[in-house]
Symmetry: C2
Subunit: 344 residues, 2 copies
Amino acid sequence: MKKKITLKDIASEFKVSISTVSKAINDSHEISDGLKSRIRKYAKDNHYRPNKVALNLLNKSTKTIGVVIPNILNYFFVQVLYGIEQVANERGFSIISCISNQSLEKESKTLDVLSTGSVDGIIISSVVSESQIEGHGKLLMEMADDQIPMVMFDRVIEWVDCDKVIVDDFEAGYRATKYFLDTGCKTIAIVTPINHTKIGRLRVEGYKKALKERKIDFNEKLILALGRKDDLELILSFVLNDKNIDGILALDEISAVKVMTIIKARGYRVPKDISIIGFTNGQLSKYVSPALTMVSQHGAYIGESCANLLLDRIENKNEQESFNSKVVKTSLIVRESTRELPMA
Amino acid sequence: MKKKITLKDIASEFKVSISTVSKAINDSHEISDGLKSRIRKYAKDNHYRPNKVALNLLNKSTKTIGVVIPNILNYFFVQVLYGIEQVANERGFSIISCISNQSLEKESKTLDVLSTGSVDGIIISSVVSESQIEGHGKLLMEMADDQIPMVMFDRVIEWVDCDKVIVDDFEAGYRATKYFLDTGCKTIAIVTPINHTKIGRLRVEGYKKALKERKIDFNEKLILALGRKDDLELILSFVLNDKNIDGILALDEISAVKVMTIIKARGYRVPKDISIIGFTNGQLSKYVSPALTMVSQHGAYIGESCANLLLDRIENKNEQESFNSKVVKTSLIVRESTRELPMA
DNA sequence: GTGAAAGCGCTAACAT
DNA sequence: ATGTTAGCGCTTTCAC
């Protein structure tokens, strides 16, 4: 790679001082027009570009924010990323995005890199569960301690002091369940690949509340918690044989689609025999048939909120003490995988 | 935000010089054990982290690569990104990813930011078409000129000197078409939202070659080029009424799925009446029914190749003159939207 | 109009 | 064992 041209190089070319060149390039009035235009032409011809890193050091700011998301193959996170990108861009910031790939170790490494001056702030959905305070959660706390501008979204950790944008997962679970009940479903199973997360459990709590209101007993066996390698088909078949399921709530998009594929293959009709509602209103759910009724978490909006919150904090160096926690409501996008609501 | 603690702060705390602190923190043997451990404890307690920006300036390297992709909602690019992330991570690099969102202006801005020392190299799929040399393509050329390590993939620009990873789009178009022909289809339409790109046109060329081999006349009317706002349903309906279509090749995943939805709604059976093949083997095509036969471009592999090529060049500062161009073959993933191949 | 000097945070070669 | 110096590339006073 060709050595990058610097002010110094130009200075020695013209036998003037570095500061003169700097001023010329920045179009300062202090420099004579002749010299200035000659220097600027030379700089342009030789593709001079000011070294960003040096400027960053000088300004103690990089105009860059770091974004840490667990999984780029999940449409929800892609939408959030998209939302962040939009407003960051609008407000003159770049984003450096890191995929933690559900791995705690990778997330730690990433945070280590980021928390070190390369970004002005961080937006993160952490994979840390509340139990894993040691080692890692500690890093997050330290960062909050040091008041590095940070906003957590979706999978937040309560005891970390920072701005937060969260989804009303409890209500989402409650409303989806109520919808099942209102359309005549009685035995509703939940398929959850995220039962280890707080948000996953909140949705289940919402589900419980809806059941309770209708005086339906909660049955632990209807909660199908999937591990990384668990075979959904197997687990589902078992419950299907055992119980008289007529509704399934899947806590992410891909599970919803898979559930439908499986139950259709086993001869059930959707929604006549079994209704399905999924989480995350992505492309998949729209195009399968029947099209899936989904809970939308408004990913892009969440991304935008995160970015605005973060940039406000970065730009208002006058630290406002208090941290904001924004709760975003979900919407139920009703399509064909659920039955009609009876007329009121 | 709390002021970040620096070596200087620690030095004045202990009333020693900055370099002593630096050495202590880097565990140099030159420093006495007592002082060293006291300094290190203090540093740790106060969350000292070396300033990355200063180090970058010193080392003239950021261990970061920039990735510019046109569209994060396209599964192919997501897969490429994923592939890049994997090897970058493995080889100790971070990635800063920028979504140009199909906008030339945004791409320019992004490149401007990146080409300025904030990254050690760039991986890009450019939205520039060959015609737009002025203004923007120029930036790309300048960068190549300056020998900034760079690799272009998928949508490459021929006259930019850099490493490249491309898909064999011509052959992909040829083979997909041949597959239609071999399974008895005679009148094959193409739905292309990317007819303005080179890769889009290459696929059509491959299609033409396959037709020619079977002595079938090429009919311009069967190429359905979609603009940003064109209504696929309308355009498709028109051709469907006019011609006796029995095969449709869609040049991206979402179009393939939409095409299927439309023709099923109009009462055609897939693949009995009309066969469909799409490009980009993502999640969608697998779960629609019938499952779609797709051309896989092996996105993750392409990403990995790009990253390896780029990092090799970054690390081998001894500039090898020649640039590599790697061509990746596609695979046809046969599913249910095409008829059976007759026995040989 | 032009230049010298300081400093952003850090390391490393070179004193002491 | 500890300190001094120089320098990465740049901007910004302040002198001349």
